[in-house]
């Protein structure tokens, strides 16, 4: 070795670095695993690494065109009936889960806050609910009547699947006087929609509701919000729609899922199904796969339903229910067994 550092030495060291880095790049260049692609030692992902197959897609992927166009074409304004006492304990969890899927969300209260809530000219209490409803719809009509097609009312303990609501409404005309929900039979001749399960008014229905109060045809004749609104709908010739799915299963539910789904022996209608206009079913036929709402849902169940609806799923499962398949298509379908 020479005494000083010669130019050769510099070149040598440079070469050393270049050689090392180049080899490093080659060896570790497989981006899909953290391990050297060349070495079968260490973790072998068994069957996978044996196969040298060209990239083939098993199922072609197409974007969720359905979903985004529905959101544009079926604009839903949601308003939540709440109050100062329930913001932290209930409304907060609605805000954290399904509220963001509405085209517009409004939290209606007696007091305006940064939640944000709209402050209506009412007081709190069960006997104020119909006043709140009237004032809420008046506020919405004043500020938003032209921006949305449908207007949903829900309680702060109602869980709603907006996509399923839009699916139902996409087949309806918002210019027609109609409203949807869980139809109850008593008190009003044409029936009325359960308040807890949530109900949704078409643009025309909203207009007629406001008109009814403007002209004195509808009044605050009762504190029972859902029944009273149902009476006003009848007075103003707004039709109660049928929200059941193509298999006749209910989509709006005034109680939590366990009240309906548990299999029972055939029996007389239990008290919580007494009001139903359409003959209710107990057990799995109660409820549509594309359910729209459940009521008496407290925070833990709110997140659970959110998890079940939008997250937890069986991988690869071919769902039985397909609302878009017509009967003729079903008959000609050949199902080939893959996993048997």
């Amino acid at each position: 070795m020479g005494m000083g550092i010669t130019r050769s030495h510099v070149f040598f060291v440079t070469g050393l670095c270049v050689g090392f880095l180049y080899m490093h790049y080659i060896v570790y260049s497989d981006p899909s695993t953290a391990e050297p692609a060349f070495f079968p030692l260490g973790h072998t992902n068994d069957v996978m690494k044996m196969m040298n197959v060209p990239l083939l897609m098993f199922k072609c992927s197409h974007p969720d065109k359905n979903e985004s166009t529905l959101s544009q074409n079926v604009r839903v304004l949601c308003w939540i009936m709440t109050g100062p006492r329930n913001l932290e304990s209930r409304a907060k969890h609605i805000r954290a889960t399904w509220a963001k899927r509405c085209n517009k969300i409004l939290y209606m209260s007696s007091v305006e806050t940064d939640f944000p809530t709209v402050g209506l000219n009412v007081s709190e209490g069960r006997d104020q609910l119909y006043w709140k409803t009237i004032r809420a719809f008046q506020y919405i009509y004043q500020h938003h009547q032209n921006d949305y097609d449908w207007f949903l009312k829900a309680d702060d303990d109602t869980f709603v699947v907006i996509e399923n609501l839009r699916h139902i409404l996409s087949k309806q005309d918002p210019k027609k006087p109609v409203y949807f929900g869980r139809r109850f039979a008593p008190f009003v001749h044409q029936g009325y929609m359960s308040g807890g399960a949530g109900y949704v008014l078409s643009k025309e229905a909203l207009k007629r509701f406001i008109e009814g109060f403007d002209k004195g045809k509808c009044t605050h004749f009762s504190t029972i919000e859902d029944m009273a609104l149902g009476k006003c709908m009848e007075t103003m010739n707004v039709e109660p729609g049928d929200s059941r799915d193509v298999k006749g299963r209910q989509t709006f539910h005034p109680y939590p899922p366990d009240k309906y789904l548990i299999k029972q022996q055939p029996r007389k209608r239990p008290w919580y199904l007494i009001y139903d206009h359409y003959k209710p079913r107990e057990g799995p036929e109660c409820c549509s796969d594309h359910a729209v709402s459940f009521h008496y849902i407290y925070p833990v169940q709110m997140y659970m339903l959110d998890y079940f609806t939008y997250h937890l799923r069986p991988y690869g499962y071919k769902y039985r229910y397909n609302p878009d398949v017509t009967t003729t298509e079903v008959e000609s379908n050949n199902t080939t067994t893959v996993s048997d």
Partner: protein, 318 residues
């Protein structure tokens, strides 16, 4: 000029070789013995990524779907009849074969009567029976009466795993030196693991039937000990994000915990989208779970999964 050039080339060659040597050494992670039984020493089993699955051709995918078939070993007891009835009418319909094993015979429920009160002896007998009656099924899933399993997600986890290799998967717990799979979250065994287990059952020294009298280990730990003797180690089942797929607690318990731990992101912070099991479930919760898992969903969401699993015949709640 020439000498500098050759110095450079020598340097490059040396640098490259040095790097290769380091990479080679790097594959031998410390602590890993090279004995053939210990070859399967990784502790985390991850579900396959979309990339991995998309590299498979359609016929390969069909092949794999046919191979990943599950024999469910469901442990029941006559005193809690409703759990047997519920498991039979809910999740177990999605197993390729579901067999119920009871502690004692009773006309009320259809099950293989093991005639055994001791939990460990019962588990041994059930596993031996399953091994003898496996037919061409190569994966075994052991559940307690309060466990709910989503078999499709189990198949997804096992899709590219070879059942002729020893696998013992679930929610792993460490107890001193022993790592075992928690019983309540479900235990998964490959055919190879079960075969080795059945062999070591005959060894009263390593794997006694009545357990060591003095310090009675729980059956889940005894299972781990016996398997360890055959070179099979517990592995934690996780999704591609590292979230555990096997849960010993119910959905509501986990959500409650998440509300405390991750109040801003309760659902994301809770459980995997492709969870395989939940434990501590009541019969009513299981019925609701069938709806929540197999039916309730938003219109218009398509997942483009890489395989198709058909619903079971003659079932009305999925």
């Amino acid at each position: 000029m020439l000498s500098e050039g050759s110095s450079f080339m020598k340097g490059m060659a040396l640098g490259g070789i040095f790097c290769l040597v380091l990479a080679l050494l790097g594959s031998f992670t410390p602590g890993m013995q090279s004995s053939p039984e210990d070859q399967h020493h990784h502790h985390h089993i991850k579900a396959p990524s979309t990339d991995e699955l998309q590299r498979l051709s359609e016929p390969q995918m069909v092949e794999l779907t046919k191979k990943v078939r599950v024999y469910c070993v469901v442990m029941v007891q006559p005193k809690v009849l409703v759990y047997w009835a519920t498991a039979k009418d809910t999740w177990s319909k999605h197993c390729d074969q579901a067999v119920f094993y009871s502690s004692e015979s009773t006309k009320a429920l259809e099950a293989v009567d093991l005639n055994e009160k001791d939990e460990w002896a019962r588990l041994r007998k059930a596993l031996k029976h399953a091994y003898d009656n496996a037919g061409d099924l190569r994966w075994f899933f052991v559940a307690r009466p309060t466990t709910f399993a989503i078999i499709e997600n189990l198949k997804y986890l096992l899709l590219v795993k070879d059942p002729n290799e020893p696998f013992y998967i679930g929610h792993t717990v460490k107890s001193g030196e022993l790592e075992y799979v928690e019983y309540d979250s479900g235990i998964v065994l490959s055919y190879e693991a079960l075969e080795r287990l059945v062999k070591v059952f005959k060894d009263e020294e390593k794997c006694p039937e009545r357990g060591r009298a003095l310090w009675k280990l729980s059956e889940e730990k005894q299972l781990a000990v016996c398997l360890k003797y055959t070179g099979v180690f517990a592995e934690n089942g996780e999704d591609v994000h590292g979230k555990g797929l096997f849960n010993g607690k119910s959905v509501s318990s986990l959500i409650e915990e998440s509300m405390v731990k991750n109040p801003q992101d309760v659902v994301e912070g809770c459980c995997s989208d492709l969870a395989v099991t939940f434990g501590g479930m009541s019969p009513s919760q299981m019925q609701v779970m069938m709806f929540g898992v197999y039916r309730l969903r938003p219109y218009g969401h398509d997942f483009h999964d890489s395989l198709i699993l058909l619903p079971p015949e003659g079932s009305d709640n999925d």
